[in-house]
Symmetry: none
Subunit: 400 residues, 2 copies
Amino acid sequence: MNLEVLEEISITTPSKIVMLVIDGLGGLPDIKTRKTELETAFTPHLDKLASSGACGLIDPIGPGITPGSGPAHLALFGYDPIKFRIGRGVLEALGVGFELTEGDIAARGNFCTIDENGLITDRRAGRISTEKCAELCSLLSQIKLDGVETFVLPVREHRFMLVLRGEGLNPDLNDTDPQKVGSAPCVAAAESPEAQFTADMVNRFIEESKKILKKHYPANMILLRGFSRLPAIPSMSEIYKLKPVAIARYPMYKGLAKLVGMKVFSVEGDFKEELKVLAECYAEHDFFFIHVKEADSAGEDGDFMRKVKVIEQVDSALPALLALKPDVLVVTGDHSTPALLKGHSWHPVPILICSSWCRHSKATRFSELACALGELGRISALEVMPLAMAHALKLSKFGA
Amino acid sequence: MNLEVLEEISITTPSKIVMLVIDGLGGLPDIKTRKTELETAFTPHLDKLASSGACGLIDPIGPGITPGSGPAHLALFGYDPIKFRIGRGVLEALGVGFELTEGDIAARGNFCTIDENGLITDRRAGRISTEKCAELCSLLSQIKLDGVETFVLPVREHRFMLVLRGEGLNPDLNDTDPQKVGSAPCVAAAESPEAQFTADMVNRFIEESKKILKKHYPANMILLRGFSRLPAIPSMSEIYKLKPVAIARYPMYKGLAKLVGMKVFSVEGDFKEELKVLAECYAEHDFFFIHVKEADSAGEDGDFMRKVKVIEQVDSALPALLALKPDVLVVTGDHSTPALLKGHSWHPVPILICSSWCRHSKATRFSELACALGELGRISALEVMPLAMAHALKLSKFGA
């Protein structure tokens, strides 16, 4: 649904919506048992919710499209991820918990190796350790540019984040990473006249970096890509008139939530700790995004049984959430991460929505199969927020 | 499907389409029986149609969006209700059966109460009787404006409709209703230069009304909102090459049908009377929209069993319709009106399409549940006309 229409019909009410996102929830069947991770897990609470609520499958971006976590979450919050693109640099900055401000230009960086002729021999500098990366980042942080502040933060192994802050910056630059060995790193060139100053600053930064890194072989050069800045995105409180809260443990998800105007509660510990925070902030807010990362990590590792266990742990902790009696509970994932594929996939994601306003469900389990036959049908992730809002009676009639 | 494509591929054939719209058809399960209104009703004819036709669920506007009757019907006729917005004033005019012509500006009016300082004390003038409203409307009808004709018609209680007719009018005005007591009514201000003349006329009308109403406390002032004119909408005969007919009993639905170029047959009496009119005009036309209002009214009143009865009455009268052997029969609703919610809702609406060209159906009942599992799946109401046209073999191939 388009955001203008949603903004027009959204109203504030005392009802509360909890959106529990089990990252990478959807899976593929194990070859022997023919059951997915979710179908293998013992999930009495989720099953009961599925039998009283409405089930379906969501496509994060569209059938066949495997999403990254950024666009997948944007879609869940109702923002078309094809319209609101989050650049690679911005995503990296969100991922390390860097507080981007409007106008900042972020880039994803790689330490790399160049030979005596300046040609790239390894785009990842032999995957230096994260410790080494941190050490090099603090060296690069000392580079001074006229009128532009720089921030260099380590990500993992050879990866880092670069942010430029200052007046008149513009992200309209090509990548300096040629994406192949045997070539020299590209020069940052402005793709529009407004970006010339930024191109000059970036090239100066690269030159200075090269000097500093000379004696740090194999990490003797840098490559930059995905120059970008925060997308202009209307907040969830503007559109939905909500007081939204994010309860998450990983920086990128907290950053994404901040991007759409959620108040972010950081949690150390596990899902149970997240639920304690939920209970504490429950009275003061009306929308709660709770993020569980571990199912995705297990899927990425190809560890089927670990993913099953994560799902079971979430299920067994659910009574503390249900005790709050949210008016609407949505349980879903941002995308599928089948252990079989060891990565994100395009498969649609199971969803259940519980409220007092559901039709029957024939589901006796919360599973890919039951959801495929569910009342919600197969819908776009963009429909999740309108449905959650509707079930909370927070949308007035469209037209008379 | 976009209208340009439909216009390109639509062809005229002798086949006939009947679209039976049971207003507010979809429901929610009764808490005790766990059956919806439709599932409670004894509907042998509809069930038989469901078992031989194709079933599904339609979203009038989109998942989660509760539609008004205007946009919901537009969608059923294939017009995107987000693109073709019908203003409040126009809808009010359609609702009282006023024949709007191109260029007319319509507004919804309220009689209200103001105190000696001109501040609103009651936005509804104590909900004066419809008779009193009619009396006051005829007084306001005597107001003369230079070059602009005015029409003032009572709606119900404190509500009325104002139409301005003349050269150079433009609806780009703010509401004069501040939507709260304690404020003075707003002045109508032009939101674009083209609307300045209209603003002047409206303000003159309000001044004159105030003088006339002085001695009619509590209805001593008026508030106007939703200034609008007929949307420019291509007719169903242009797009679908049909000779379409509407058989309806309530002014708003007749007005909507006229808006999209249907020939309108007014009917007094019940659904059986509508079917008599259908039989009479059947030979001369090829598309028939039949509207049954009472299911919605029962739902709005929260009267579950009355809604059940309306559905049963429709079912028992169906043989007269089936005797005409329409090539395509569509049975659906414009939106859901669950008795449990006492109002329109966002829940998708059961639909069945019967023709000689349906795949199997597993349905043994026409119900929300059977439709959720039906061959059509969950589709937008905008797809109903293309499907009906296709089943009538009235759409040629797209591309070679």
